[in-house]
Amino acid sequence: MKYIILFTSAFLLFGAPAAFAKDVYPSFTVKGFGTLGASGTDTDRLGFRRDIKQSAGVTNGWGFDNDSRLGLQLDVDINKSWHATAQWVARNNTGDFFEQNLDWFFLRWRLEDDLDIRVGRMGFDVFMLSEYRNVGYAYLWMRPPHEFYAGLPVYHFDGADIAKKYAIGEGILTIKAFGGYSFFQVPITNSSNSAAQGTTVAGGKLAYEYGNWNTRIGYTYVLTNNEFAALQPLLDTLNSAEVNAVWPGAQALVRQIATKNKIVHFSSIGLAYDDGLWLAQMEASYIDSDQLNYPSVASGYFSAGRRFGKVTLYSLFGISESLHNQIELSNPLIPVPAIVELRNAVAQLPNSSRVDEKSVSLGLRWDVTEHIDLKTQWSHYWLGNNGAALWLTPAAGLTPDTVNVWSVGLDFVF
């Protein structure tokens, strides 16, 4: 991977002087996008965030951080069949500011008109919007549907993909396969530290575009390569001889709790319609997981909207429900208070990552100019018992079971 980056950098930096006419290579283009957004809620007990990679959320105090961002993209046409792209997005995220925000950095080889191979860093193409969640201008809502996208901390991976397009009937079928490695950092609940995660990813999609319709079916396999740092102290305790002397089943739990070598399967289906006046979109997914701190979850959303000139009104319904991940626990031989407490902590573990969330949103997008839109959105969330894993929860105390979130934003491309 390091060599690919060096190779691409060499091209970008020392390629040749910039040229502007078509047919003259290499040609350089700089483009960008951004959002200035503000949002607020009606509670101070839960922090609302776009996704679980964010370690800060908005409350009734409002904030600009969660939705605001600025992306820059450099494209280089090296010759007729080779192309390089780099995209970096400044945003409020957990982890290394430069490395984690570099979402695209690849070389593309167009072998023939309908066949592309890319090598380098690419967006994670797991659901319909997962590759361009940052580009607010490219979608209708204030942010991608929360129930569907907020649980996805992976934005990119390092590896390769191959995509082939076929003209079938009046439409175009795209078949894509990808594989590689993803390194990402996520916040640790109620701590200012982050945890590094390394995963092997492989997946594919079928997409068919026909007139006003767009459909997509996708599957992605994710294998976690390391132990989640925040769980390590617990795993060490459960492995210790002292604990096992009093609680013989303790060590056997390590295998259930550990994240290393656990597999997550993402399956999804999506459908979008847009005839210029009416638009609708829906997706459904099932994430099947062995990982106790990322329990299996079923999610879906449906959105419908109508354009009135430059203004589009929309509604959005979303749902996400974790499946009950029960952990099998034996009882300690002697009820030593410290061990009982440890047992309770283990029993609580699946609860802290459960999602039980539904929402309804109403919003408006106004295309002010050809490159700028203004959006506003109201969302009402229902959160079930132990179901707020997509939010930032306090260390102790009750949290509300309904929350209103109001947002305004300005998206632009240049």
């Binding site: 792209t85 361009y132 210029g276």
Partner: protein, 123 residues
């Protein structure tokens, strides 16, 4: 500024052997879904940065230009393809189409002359 009722023509090099294109075929070329003409030859779509652009896409696709821009934002920022190069006006488009055998562009109908081939009329 062209009037809202202007007629547009889609033009190509005079040596281009294509007799005409349908609106769907022109749309596929300008939206990057198709990269060659029906005869298999490489196509180089030329866009405009003038106010004629909004009118062209409105007439060609029935959609406002903001939707076309949102479409390209998705394609471009996911590293799939780049939108057609934009030239400032009819004059620059005519010039480029005259000079490139694969070029395909659009101009106001009143500006067309017999140095280029007309593939489609949009009104």
């Amino acid at each position: 500024m062209p009037s809202a009722q202007a007629e547009l023509v889609v033009i190509a090099h005079f040596k281009n052997s294509i007799v005409g294109l349908t609106a769907k075929q022109v749309q596929d070329l300008f939206l990057g879904r198709e990269r060659t003409f029906p005869n298999g030859k490489f196509a180089l779509p030329i866009d405009q940065s003038s106010p004629l652009r909004a009118e062209f896409y409105e007439k060609l696709t029935g959609r406002p230009v903001e939707q076309i821009n949102a479409y390209w934002a998705r394609i471009m920022f996911t590293g799939q393809a780049s939108p057609p190069q934009q030239l400032p006006d009819d004059k620059a488009v005519l010039q480029t189409v005259r000079e490139n055998e694969g070029a395909i562009g659009y101009i106001d109908k009143t500006r067309v002359d017999n140095t280029v081939r007309v593939l489609l009329l949009l009104n």
